[in-house]
């Protein structure tokens, strides 16, 4: 089975017992696209990949490759490649043989197998380890074998389940580049699961953000990053400050919310429509809403400026910048980032980058559980 023009998942679902690990997944993947699946741990990303690969039978929906229905095809007939989250290396085969396995299955000429295998080994920087068994490798080395094994086949669709999670930052960058390079030079289609937003943002053409087995938002990195469709997505995309408040004045897209004894202006957001783009409107004064803002968009200034004010509590050194928690006068705790040298206990002014405070409908108290708020680091 070679290339395809598009891959369509319609209403794909997978149930374990009574729990839906994946539900109602509708997604069309164009040939050559790089799709990243994102979402909290346990949200169904691996399940989705497994369904696509044919390793888990669907409990609902269907998968179409162009006009052919493929969800009943066994995995080996689909011709997709997969990097397993737990690698699933063949313990009895050396690194080299693990990588060559797929090529051999295709009965390629010996020469070509050797050539391509060696190239893949080099790509993942395992030349000195090529004759070891998986059990003799470090975690990151194993992960690289898994990557090489799946990509050496240059399959029409590569499914990667957190393929870089055990690599250090430097190697991760390099591998990212390699994966992008492979993707582009061979015109592969890639579905990539990652928990690393930066990875997702920088590599993917489109992101699929999931939660509890359901898609929350599908969009370009920029869309998802700047316009999260729900406060859950915002939460996940690094809007670490999620404040359940009551909407004040609403004026078109602009909505005023109370904060720190005063009010700030936010941009109203509405749940996405079918086309996957967030729509505005329909938020009214008095609604329970969630205001979301990233730490980077909360700026600390000198104490003497008017507006929001707070006291620095916890600070954490993070490379160039500091992560600081600031408690406002109304007790709301804000996560911020700053390159100023601040000390715990210091009083500071706080300003929010205009247009970067997003306001979401809360979706009812059931949708905004206290526990979740607490875990989001928010003092209610």
């Amino acid at each position: 089975m070679t290339g395809f023009d598009e891959l369509r998942l319609t209403g794909v679902g997978r149930r374990f017992g009574t729990a839906d690990a994946l539900a109602d997944l509708d997604l069309t993947i164009q040939r050559g696209e790089f799709i990243a699946l994102l979402g909290p741990s346990g949200c169904g990303k691996s399940t989705a990949l497994n369904c696509l690969a044919g390793l888990l039978p669907l409990t609902a929906g269907s998968i179409w490759q162009d006009d052919q229905r493929i969800d009943t095809l066994p995995p080996e007939k689909r011709g997709f490649g997969m990097v397993f989250q737990n690698y699933a290396l063949f313990p009895h085969l050396t690194v080299r043989d693990n990588i060559a396995f797929g090529l051999r299955m295709r009965r390629l000429p010996k020469d070509e197998v050797r050539r391509r295998t060696e190239a893949a080994i080099e790509m993942v920087r395992l030349v000195e380890h090529a004759s070891k068994l998986p059990g003799q490798l470090s975690g990151g080395q194993q992960q690289r074998v898994a990557i090489a094994r799946a990509t050496v086949l240059e399959p029409s669709l590569v499914l990667m389940d957190e393929p870089l999670s055990n690599l250090d930052a430097k190697l991760r960058l390099e591998m990212r580049t390699e994966i992008r390079r492979l993707h582009q030079s061979l015109g592969l289609t890639t579905v990539y699961v990652t928990h690393d937003q930066e990875e997702a943002l920088s590599m993917a053409d489109r992101l699929v953000v999931m939660r509890l087995g359901r898609v929350q938002q599908i969009g370009t990195p920029e869309q998802v990053h700047t316009k999260p469709a729900t406060w859950h997505v915002a939460d996940f995309m690094g809007y670490r400050n999620l404040l359940p408040v009551t909407a004040g004045r609403v004026d078109g897209e602009t909505i005023v919310v109370p904060l720190g004894g005063t009010t700030v202006e936010g941009v109203a957001q509405l749940p996405p429509q079918a086309d996957g783009v967030a729509q505005t409107g329909a938020l009214a004064t008095g609604d329970q809403v969630v205001a979301a803002v990233r730490p980077e968009d909360v700026r600390l200034g000198n104490d003497d400026v008017a507006g929001l004010r707070g006291r620095v509590e916890v600070i954490e050194y993070q490379g160039r910048e500091l992560a600081a928690e600031v408690v406002l006068s109304d007790g709301v705790r804000l996560h911020t980032r700053t390159d100023r040298k601040v000390e715990p206990g210091e009083h500071v002014s706080v300003s929010i980058t205009p247009g970067r405070l997003l306001v979401y409908p809360s979706g009812g108290s059931a949708e905004l559980p206290a526990a979740e708020l607490a875990t989001a680091g928010l003092a209610v």
Binding site: A53, G54, L55, P74, P75, E76, G79, F80, G81, M82, F84, N86, A88, L89, F90, P91, H92, F101, G102, M105, R106, L133, G135, R149, A150, L153, L159
Partner: protein, 296 residues
């Protein structure tokens, strides 16, 4: 510091596999030494004390110079090797198919294992009854006109062979099935995503991971088949084509009451087995043995 070098020494030993875990060998070793090796050495030395005089090796010479006795080795191998091989080879694909989930699987497994309970006597009686000249099998054959005269399937090589299959197959199946269950199915799935067909997955992934277990299974089935005794007598032709070596030893011990000679024959029997076993073990030691992912 002397204590330090003492400790370093311990690391070095640990590196070579000598550490306190070796104590776990102790109970079994003591047990085997006291209850087996000690009596066994008597048996061994006895084999060098021929009843009717002669040199220490007289018993061995007697065995090897008598074609009637010597041939028992070949006779036994001719029965045991094919039977053991067939048992293992048949067990593998069947056990392999019993892995997935399907309705009635538990029943199937149980039914496949059940013949293990038959024992040699029931098997022998059953084979004699069933395959005998007026048994159901021949009745059916003659009934549907496949043959005019009953075909003889007992009191010859085939009788013994069948009895080894009936008793040996479930044994092999049970072991193989259990060994198989320890192999992580994810590995096969990984192979599937790499384009390996069912049979390729089996050959390239499952089989190699199963191989150490298969070696052990073969060994045990072979040893059981090699020492086949009651069925060689009951459903075989003990004076002729199924005159196995254990029968020769039995006759020496219990008909001629020449325990020394019997011991010698039994030693030879053990030695022949040991050769086969050694070949298998050497092969096994070259296989990958280790975690197969299924239990971790």
């Amino acid at each position: 510091m002397s204590t330090v070098s003492g400790l370093d020494w311990r690391h070095r030993l640990a590196e070579r596999g000598v550490d306190r875990r070796l104590w776990l060998l102790l109970p079994a070793t003591v047990f085997v030494l006291v209850l087996f090796i000690y009596p066994f050495v008597y048996g061994l030395s006895l084999s060098f004390q021929p009843m009717n005089g002669g040199g220490a090796f007289a018993n061995y010479q007697k065995f090897f110079s008598d074609a009637y006795q010597r041939d028992t080795i070949l006779t036994t191998l001719k029965i045991a090797l094919p039977a053991a091989l067939l048992n293992v080879l048949a067990a593998v694909p069947i056990a392999f198919r019993m892995r997935g989930r399907f309705r009635g699987k538990r029943l199937m497994t149980t039914v496949l294992v059940i013949p293990i309970t038959l024992g040699t006597v029931l098997t022998a009686q059953g084979l004699l009854n069933f395959l005998g000249p007026t048994g159901w099998f021949n009745r059916v054959l003659m009934g549907i006109g496949l043959t005019d005269d009953p075909i003889r399937l007992t009191n010859n090589y085939w009788g013994v062979f069948f009895s080894l299959i009936v008793t040996g197959f479930p044994f092999a199946f049970l072991l193989v099935l259990s060994y198989l269950s320890g192999i992580d199915p994810t590995l096969e799935r990984a192979a599937a995503t790499l384009g390996a067909s069912r049979s390729q997955r089996f050959r390239r992934i499952t089989l190699p991971l199963l191989a150490p277990g298969l070696a052990t299974t073969f060994l045990l089935t072979f040893v059981l088949a090699f020492s086949v005794f009651p069925s060689a007598v009951l459903v075989g032709n003990p004076a002729g084509s199924t005159r196995v070596i254990s029968l020769a030893a039995y006759q020496a011990a219990y008909e001629q009451y020449d325990y020394a000679y019997a011991s010698a024959i039994a030693m030879i029997m053990g030695a022949v087995e040991l050769v086969v076993v050694a070949v298998v073990l050497i092969w096994r030691s070259r296989l990958y043995t280790g975690s197969t992912g299924g239990k971790g």
